[in-house]
C-alpha cells in the first residue's frame, strides 16, 4: 500500500466500479441467498391459535383508507396490533420485495401479503405463502372467479379481498344521436355502430384499449383471444393457443388495428393515456377498468364526457365477451409468527362490512357477491351490476409459476401484431404455443 502505483490501481478499480458495478451490486443482493427447497407450505404444522402482533404488506395506499381502518382493528385488539408496511405503487417492485423477504427467510418481517392475482402460482409453488385450510377460511358468498384465482392445484392459498373486471365504456350521447338504443354485444356490431357515428363526427376513433407493451397488453390481448372462444391454457394447464377459436379472436384484433377501428397510437397507450383519450372525446368505445368511471364523471373540466357515457359488458365474436380478471388477495407468509391473528385479520378485512367500507372509500371492486346488489352502493356506483357480470364471467390469466416469462411471451406475440397488424396471426400463435409449452413444462 505504501507504493503509489498500488494506490493508483486500487483507486482506478474504485472509479470503474462506481461507474459499472451499480447494476452488479443490485443483482447480487438477492443472489447471495441460497433458497431452501420448498416444502409445500402445507397446512400441517401451522398453529392457527397463535396470536400476537403482525404486519400487513401491500402496495402504496393512494386512497388513505388503509391506515385508519387498521387503526380501528388495533383499537379493538390491543394485543394483536397490525402494522402496515406500504411498498411501491409499482406492482413488479412490490412482488420483488415479497420475494426478497422470502429469500432472506422473512428478514423484512412480512406476515400478511396483499397478492396480485397473477402472483398466486409463483408464491404458492415456491412455498412463500401457506395453504389456507377450507375449514378455517370459508369462501361461501364470494364471487367464484375471484375464489378460483386464489387456488393453485385445487388448494386455497389466498383469500379474495378485491377484484377487478374490464367494462366497455361507451358514449351514450353519440349512440342515442345515431338512433342506437343498446350497446353492442359483438365486435361487428361495435364496428357498424362506430362507422355510423364516425359519418357525422369526423375525426373520432371507434375504439381504444391498453396496447402499450406491459401487463395491460396481456389483459387486452387475452380478452380478444378469449372473446373469440380461445384459451391460453386448458383445464390441465396445457397451452392451447394455436386453435381456430383463438385465431378468430386475435384476427379480429389485428383487423381492428389494420382498418383503423383502433387507432395506431393505441399501441402506446397504457391505462392513463387511454382514459385521457376517452375523456377528451376522441373515442366512442373504451375498454377500461372500473376506476375510470368516477374520474370520467368529474365535472371540474378534466372530463369532456361527464354525463355522456355509460358502461356495458365487453363485446365478443358472437356474443358478450370475456373480461380478464384482476384484483388482489390476502395471503400468509411461511415465516408468519402469529398465524392465528393473521387469519382473524384477513377474515375481518375481507368480510362484507369492511369490503363495503373499502368500496365506499376507495371504489375498489368487492369480492363479496351480495354487495353488488346493495341499493346504497348501486346508487353511488351505478356500474356495479355490469361489473358483477363482468367479474362473474371473467377469465384469469394463466396460472404459471414463471408468470413473468409467460406474460412476456404473450406480450411479444401481441405487440408484434399490434405494431404490424398484417402479421400472419396463425403463425404468430403457433410461435406462442411453442414458447408457452417450454415455459409451462
Amino acid at each position: 500500500m505504501s507504493r503509489p502505483e498500488l494506490t493508483r490501481r486500487s483507486l482506478l478499480i474504485g472509479t470503474l466500479g462506481v461507474a459499472a458495478a451499480g447494476a452488479l451490486s443490485a443483482c447480487s443482493s438477492g443472489g447471495g441467498a441460497t433458497t431452501p427447497a420448498a416444502t409445500g407450505g402445507g397446512a400441517a404444522g401451522i398453529d392457527w391459535t397463535k396470536k400476537g402482533p403482525i404486519t400487513y404488506v401491500q402496495g402504496k395506499d393512494t386512497s388513505g383508507y388503509v391506515q385508519p381502518t387498521i387503526d380501528k382493528w388495533n383499537k379493538d385488539h390491543p394485543n394483536e396490533k397490525v402494522t402496515l408496511i406500504e411498498l411501491s405503487d409499482k406492482a413488479d417492485e412490490q412482488q420483488q420485495k415479497m420475494i426478497d423477504n422470502f429469500n432472506t427467510n422473512g428478514s423484512a418481517g412480512y406476515d400478511v401479503l396483499s397478492v396480485d392475482v397473477v402472483w398466486t402460482a409463483q408464491f404458492a409453488a415456491n412455498g412463500m405463502i401457506v395453504e389456507l385450510p377450507a375449514a378455517q377460511f370459508p369462501t361461501t358468498g364470494y364471487l367464484k372467479p375471484a375464489v378460483d384465482a386464489c387456488t393453485y392445484f385445487n388448494k386455497l392459498y389466498c383469500f379474495p379481498s378485491t377484484s377487478d373486471g374490464a367494462m366497455l365504456y361507451y358514449r351514450k350521447d353519440l349512440l342515442d344521436a345515431a338512433g342506437v338504443t343498446a350497446p353492442p354485444k359483438t365486435w361487428d356490431e361495435m364496428i357498424t355502430i362506430g362507422r355510423k357515428i364516425q359519418a357525422t363526427n369526423p375525426g373520432i376513433n371507434i375504439m381504444g384499449g391498453q396496447f402499450q407493451k406491459y401487463e395491460g397488453l396481456t389483459c387486452n390481448f387475452a380478452e380478444w383471444l378469449n372473446g373469440g372462444g380461445g384459451e391460453f391454457l386448458d383445464a390441465n394447464g396445457k397451452p392451447t393457443v394455436n386453435t381456430d377459436a383463438a385465431a378468430k379472436g386475435v384476427q379480429a384484433m389485428a383487423d381492428a388495428f389494420k382498418d383503423g377501428v383502433i387507432p395506431a397510437e393505441a399501441s402506446t397507450w397504457s391505462e392513463e393515456p387511454s382514459r385521457q383519450a376517452f375523456q377528451d372525446g376522441k373515442l366512442i368505445f373504451l375498454r377500461q377498468w372500473p376506476y375510470v368511471y368516477s374520474l370520467a364523471q368529474k365535472t371540474d373540466g378534466s372530463s369532456k364526457v361527464n354525463g355522456k357515457f355509460a358502461v356495458a359488458l365487453l363485446p365478443g365474436a358472437t356474443g358478450t365477451g370475456v373480461s380478464t380478471l384482476g384484483g388482489h388477495n390476502m395471503a400468509i407468509t411461511k415465516t408468519a409468527k402469529n398465524p392465528g391473528t393473521c387469519k382473524d385479520f384477513i377474515l375481518w378485512w375481507c368480510g362484507p362490512q369492511m369490503q363495503k367500507e373499502n368500496l365506499l372509500a376507495s371504489s375498489q371492486a368487492p369480492t363479496y357477491e351480495a354487495l353488488y346488489a346493495d341499493p346504497e352502493l348501486v346508487a353511488k356506483f351505478p356500474y356495479l351490476p355490469v361489473l358483477k357480470e363482468s367479474i362473474a364471467t371473467a377469465k384469469a390469466r394463466p396460472k404459471a409459476v414463471r408468470y413473468s416469462d409467460v406474460t412476456l411471451a404473450i406480450q411479444d406475440t401481441a405487440y408484434g401484431i399490434v405494431k404490424t397488424p398484417t402479421t400472419d396471426v396463425k403463425a404468430a400463435l403457433a410461435g406462442l404455443q411453442t414458447k408457452l409449452e417450454t415455459l409451462t413444462k
Partner: protein
C-alpha cells in the same frame, strides 16, 4: 524524521522509490477506512456477482404437486455461453433483425454509446466555447445550459415521455404522427435526443474547465501571426483542452454503456429496439434468474473495463492526475532505457540525452 522508522525500513526498498517521502504507511492508514467502505460496497459485491454468475437455479414445478423443487447448481460458464447461443437463448426482433436478446442488447448499447457520445462531444464543446465568452448575461446562459444536467435522469425521462407522446409536443412541432413510444427506430432516436439533451452540458462543463486553463497569451501570439479563428480552434483550443475533454468523454462513454433510466422511464421494459444490457439484466433479476442476470452484468462490467482501459492507453486519459505518480513512472522509464542501453554496451547518458533532444526538436517543429 525519526531514526527508528529509518532503521525498521529495509534500505533496499527505500532506494527503489526515490520520490517517496517516507509517509507511505501513514497514507495507507489514513486511506484504509475509504478502502474498507469501497471493499464492502463495491469489491465484495463484484466478486459475489461473479460467483453468482456461475450458478443456475432451476425453478420448474413438479407436474403432480405444482411445487417447485429448487436446486441451485454450478454451471460454470453456462450462463455466458447460453446467452449468445441462438439455439438456447430467446431470440428477439429489434431494429437489427432477429437474434439472441443479449446480442441485440449489446448492439443497442454500442449504437447508443457511439451516437450519443459523438453528438454530446460536439455540442458540449460548442457549449463550452459559448460559456467561456465574456458577455452580458453570461451567468444566465451558463445556468440555462447546465439545467438539464441538474435534473434527475428519471425525471427527464418522464418529461421526454410526455414530449414524445403520440399527441405530444414533438409531433405537434414537426406536424407528424410518429409513434415514438412504440418500439421502433424512432424510439431509439427519442432516447438519443433525450440523452444528448441531458448530458451534453456535462461535457460542456468539463470542456469549459479545460478551456479556462489555456493562457490568453497563446491566442494573442496566434493573432499576431495571423491565424484564422478556425486554425486557432483546431491548433490551440482543441489540443490544449484535450486532457480535460478526454476524461469527460471517458466518463460519458462509461455511463452511456450502462444506460438504464431513459429506456426504462421513457419506453418501459422488454422493448427490444431500446433494450440495453442493463435493462436486460434488470428483467432477468426481476424474474429471479439471478445467475444469468449476474452473468450479463459481469459482461457489461468487462465491456466497460475494456473500453476504459483502451481510453487510458490509446487516448491517454489522465483519470487520476497525480503528479507524483507521473514523476515516478517517468523515472522508471528513464531507468529502463538506461538499463537497456547499458546492456547493449552503449553509454547510457548519450542515449538518454539523445531522446530528450529528439522530443524537444519534435515539439519545436509543431
Amino acid at each position: 524524521m525519526s531514526t527508528i522508522t529509518q532503521a525498521a525500513a529495509p534500505p533496499a526498498k527505500r532506494k527503489k522509490n526515490a520520490l517517496s517521502d517516507g509517509q507511505g504507511q501513514l497514507a495507507a492508514l489514513l486511506l484504509s477506512p475509504t478502502m474498507l467502505v469501497l471493499g464492502v460496497v463495491v469489491i465484495i459485491p463484484v466478486f459475489l456477482s461473479i460467483r453468482e454468475s456461475l450458478f443456475f437455479k432451476s425453478d420448474a414445478p413438479d407436474p403432480n404437486t405444482g411445487m417447485v423443487v429448487s436446486s441451485e447448481q454450478f454451471v460454470g460458464l453456462g450462463n455466458y455461453l447460453n446467452a449468445f447461443n441462438s439455439a438456447t437463448a430467446d431470440t428477439v426482433a429489434g431494429v437489427w433483425g432477429t437474434m439472441p436478446r443479449l446480442t441485440n442488447a449489446f448492439l443497442n448499447n454500442m449504437w447508443f454509446t457511439v451516437v450519443c457520445v459523438a453528438l454530446e462531444t460536439v455540442l458540449g464543446v460548442a457549449m463550452a466555447l459559448i460559456m467561456a465568452k465574456a458577455f452580458r448575461g453570461q451567468g444566465i446562459v451558463r445556468a440555462a445550459i447546465l439545467v438539464p444536467w441538474a435534473i434527475p435522469t428519471i425525471v427527464s425521462a418522464m418529461m421526454w415521455k410526455l414530449i414524445f407522446d403520440a399527441d405530444g409536443v414533438a409531433n405537434k412541432i414537426i406536424g407528424t404522427k410518429i409513434l415514438w413510444l412504440q418500439d421502433n427506430a424512432w424510439s431509439q432516436l427519442a432516447i438519443i435526443i433525450a440523452d444528448v439533451w441531458k448530458t451534453a452540458p456535462f461535457i460542456g462543463l468539463m470542456a469549459l474547465a479545460g478551456l479556462q486553463t489555456i493562457d490568453t497569451q497563446v491566442y494573442e501570439a496566434a493573432k499576431v501571426d495571423g491565424a484564422s479563428a478556425w486554425r486557432q480552434f483546431t491548433q490551440i483550443t482543441l489540443p490544449l483542452m484535450k486532457p480535460a475533454l478526454v476524461v469527460a468523454v471517458l466518463f460519458r462513454t462509461l455511463s452511456t454503456m450502462a444506460i438504464f433510466e431513459l429506456p426504462y422511464g421513457m419506453m418501459g421494459l422488454n422493448k427490444y429496439s431500446v433494450d440495453t444490457l442493463s435493462t436486460f439484466a434488470f428483467v432477468e433479476a426481476r424474474a429471479t434468474r439471478y445467475g444469468p442476470a449476474a452473468a450479463y452484468s459481469v459482461l457489461l462490467f468487462l465491456l466497460v473495463a475494456v473500453v476504459a482501459f483502451l481510453f487510458i492507453k490509446l487516448l491517454g486519459a489522465d483519470v487520476i492526475g497525480d503528479e507524483e505518480v507521473k514523476a515516478v513512472a517517468a523515472q522508471k522509464k528513464r531507468r529502463r532505457l538506461a538499463a537497456k542501453a547499458a546492456a547493449h554496451g552503449q553509454p547510457a547518458a548519450s542515449v538518454g540525452g539523445g531522446g530528450v533532444i529528439t522530443t524537444t526538436s519534435g515539439e519545436g517543429q509543431q
